[in-house]
């Protein structure tokens, strides 16, 4: 199946999750919420992998890279949640979303040698405009 369908479904799920988290307004410190999120994620993925009998073995170099990416994403998310706790979401969310829209594309161009066509630039520009209009 084309990657776009998986991405759209993922986008809908996470968008809905974020909406309901905000709606329910947990009286829980953001990083505690993130801890629960990761614990739930770990248990779920562990059970799924066991059921599907997918091997957990990974060579040492790849394991180090995976742990590094886990360190980066969890630390990044933690900083994001902390920044929200310090100021209003209307300041943090657009800046964060524009950043994680544009920076991976730039990194992909530099390190993965992905082609950045005019259509991709136009798509990125529309994404940034979407974020700006939805958050002003």
């Amino acid at each position: 199946m084309n990657w776009i369908y998986y991405t759209i479904v993922a986008m809908i799920i996470i968008g809905g999750l974020l909406f309901f988290i905000k709606l329910l307004s947990f009286n829980v410190f953001p990083l505690v919420l993130l801890s629960y999120q990761y614990i739930g994620s770990l248990i779920t993925i562990f059970i799924y992998l066991l059921i599907r009998k997918i091997s957990f073995s990974v060579n040492r170099i790849n394991l180090i890279k995976i742990f590094l990416s886990g360190l980066l994403v969890s630390t990044g998310l933690s900083f994001y949640y902390l920044s929200i706790s310090l100021t209003s979401t209307s300041r943090v969310v657009p800046l964060h979303n524009v950043g994680v829209t544009l920076l991976p594309a730039l990194l992909a161009f530099i390190f993965l040698k992905e082609k950045i066509t005019k259509r991709v630039i136009a798509g990125l520009a529309c994404s940034v405009l979407c974020i700006i209009f939805l958050t002003i």
């Binding site: 809908i12 995976i66 900083f79 920044s83 991709v120 798509g123 939805l134």
Partner: protein, 136 residues
């Protein structure tokens, strides 16, 4: 402005994490990557939570673990998409999750339909079309 520094750090860390994951996907199952990321993330976020606020997870809030089930499903689908599509396109489309939040706000919270919201949704849809519609 510490919040600004935190957001920028978050953007950089999360973007580099996506880059590492994309590179790893050539050799490692995406769900295994997700598993080990969660494995390192759980203790890290608990430590960050404790040192930033003294807050720790408690048994009373265990239903919050369900958030992790939903979250990991979305991220797993995102990683499947990332294994099949370019980072420069998958990541921006995934980050348009704000569209879902905005639509849910309209439907469930009966938020007003403003010109900004319409423009945001239009640009979001256009962004998805431009990024997702191009043949690789």
């Amino acid at each position: 402005m510490p919040w600004l520094v935190y957001v920028l750090i978050a953007v950089v860390l999360m973007s580099f994490s996506s880059l590492i994951v994309k590179k790893l996907m050539k050799n490692v199952n995406q769900l295994i990557i997700l598993f080990y990321q969660c494995l390192i993330a759980v203790p890290l976020v608990i430590i960050y939570s404790y040192f930033s606020s003294g807050a720790l997870i408690t048994i009373n809030n265990y239903p919050l673990i369900l958030l992790g089930v939903i979250y990991v499903t979305a991220i797993a689908l995102y990683y499947v998409a990332l294994s099949n599509g370019p980072l420069s396109k998958v990541s921006p489309v995934f980050n348009l999750k704000m569209i879902v939040t905005a639509v849910l706000g309209l439907i469930i919270l009966i938020e007003p339909l403003t010109i900004q919201l319409i423009l945001g949704l239009v640009f979001g849809m256009l962004g998805i079309y431009l990024l997702g519609g191009e043949r690789e």
